[in-house]
């Protein structure tokens, strides 16, 4: 008996091979991927704002160059990811419209403000660090274009994480004012970074299906623990203290146990009530609207020249 397309798909996923754009896929799989890849792409471009906020003020030319390169990488990640989403039959402008209308999300972490230079360090070390833990397993995601985009992105993210660590290391071992700036940034970014892995497993409705489809490989809580285990020893090297009095090493398991996360804050920010939700979207809409005439001009020019070259031919 010839297998049905669905059986083919299941077998493909089961055997850890990649689903490619032309393969049959269940509608739910396609929708889940569009939602997740778009959210990821949006996070990259919204994430350019809090860091872009410091390009003009970077305290040395070397730091300015690194930060510019980093924010440029994020724009590039946005491009790969929108392209990956486009293989699923949506286009970038549609996805941007959904973002601007508040109908698709981006990572809530970018709804916190970057108040000092040390926040560039904390974002690199903690936020990019958490993103790497989240994203490395996606390099083995069942959907080929997403997995391949993620391989490239993860390489760059690990550079971002190191530069963040280095910023904080320099500040922590610098003047007392610099050390204080670094500790303050860690105090503000620590808990939101732990929230980046999403709600606890028992409150994460979409996780089971994503795991079955091999879009997701580990649960939110597993990834969060992995991040904490990786990060606490680094904080000791930095000479900075995570703002969690309950943080301790569980000698038996070797895991760092952390205190309770304030999920009411997470859900409030997710709902739109974070310190920068409104600013981030307004900024995006403004840049997009102000650029409309430029995009229109490019299309009009392309159209004219196509018509002219056809006229000649």
């Amino acid at each position: 008996m010839t297998p049905t397309p669905e059986q083919d798909f299941d077998a493909l996923v089961e055997s850890d091979q990649r689903v490619e754009p032309r393969d049959w896929m269940p509608e739910g799989y396609r929708k889940t991927l569009v939602r997740q890849i778009a959210q990821h792409a949006h996070s990259e471009i919204i994430g350019m704002q809090p860091e872009g906020n410091w390009i003009g003020r970077a305290p040395s030319l070397r730091r300015k160059a690194i930060l510019l390169a980093k924010v440029q990488d994020e724009a590039g990640h946005g491009l790969y990811l929108y392209s990956a989403a486009e293989t699923l039959g949506v286009d970038r402008s549609e996805l941007l419209d959904l973002l601007h209308a508040g109908k698709q999300r981006y990572s809530s972490i970018f709804n916190y403000p970057t108040l000092t230079w040390a926040d560039m360090g904390a974002i690199g070390w903690l936020v990019d660090g958490a993103a790497i833990v989240n994203q490395v397993p996606i390099c083995r995601c069942s959907y080929g274009p997403y997995a391949r985009a993620m391989v490239r992105i993860c390489k760059e993210e690990s550079f971002h994480q190191r530069q963040g660590f280095e910023i904080l290391h320099t500040l922590s071992h610098g003047t007392p004012a610099q050390h204080e700036m670094a500790q303050d940034a860690v105090n503000r970014w620590w808990w939101p970074s732990l929230m980046m892995f999403g709600p606890p497993d028992d409150q994460s409705p979409n996780s089971a299906q994503s795991m079955a489809w091999r879009i997701k490989r580990f649960s939110n809580d597993e990834l969060r623990q992995k991040f904490v285990d990786m990060t606490v020893p680094q904080s000791q090297v930095l000479g900075l203290t995570p703002p969690d009095p309950d943080l301790h090493l569980d000698e038996e398991t070797g895991h760092w146990r952390f205190g309770e996360i304030d999920w009411s804050e997470f859900f409030a920010v997710l709902k739109g009530d974070g310190p920068c939700n409104q600013d981030r979207i307004e900024h995006r809409r403004r840049a997009h609207d102000e650029g409309a005439w430029v995009r229109d001009a490019a299309s009009a020019y392309a159209e004219k020249h196509r018509a002219r070259s056809e006229g000649v031919a």
Binding site: I45, I55, S60, Q72, L79, Q178, G291, Y301
Partner: protein
Amino acid sequence: MSDTLLAPDVATYALRLGDDALVLAQRLGEWVANAPQLEEDVALANIALDLLGQARSLLTYAGASEGQGRTEDDLAFLRDERAFVNVTMVEIANGDFGVTMARQLCFSTYQLGLYDVLRASSDETLAGVAGKAVKEVAYHRDHATQWVLRLGDGTDESHNRMQAGLERVWPHVDELFEADDLERRLSATGVGVDTSTLRAPWDAYVDGVLARAGLTRPDASWLAAGGRRGLHTEAFGHLLAEMQHLHRSHPGASW
């Protein structure tokens, strides 16, 4: 040794070229997360990075030639407005994308001409910087050219905005080619470039682009001057305030 005699001139000259690159990089950095489309966020950041790289080499060399131990950061963050010797074109506020592309076309055409000659400088460091930068700036000019063509020959609105962008930038064009004694001395010894010789090829290239784009070469009603002598626009003080404040708030700190 003529090198020793020339050193203060070379320091000033490297500072001029370095300030041009630094200030334009600072302006272009303002576009990041504000560009009309994601590809332009990437492109403008890329151009800013190229310019910043040039600035860092040139300021470092200026500090070394000056011989007072000033680093690239000392020069970038601890000088006041009147000590900056960039041309005023690079400090013009970004305005809309039309103004930015007009500024980019005018400046990169000038800078490409300059670096192209400077590649043969008898000063090895300047020749080296120019040799690397000439490839970068060829891309900057191409990028600006493509946009000026698209905006000039796109929609009515884009045509009008592109023309307005040129009008905004044009008063700062003549200043690019204002050679002074220092430049003439350095050009006579094969170290620097006499910018007045760059004017004719500049006109030919830019006029060609404007003609293809259906744009009109503006007639400047006034002419900016004096950037090389530390005379800047009002906007420039604000640019420096933003760029320098953090560095200056922590005297002596390392970053």
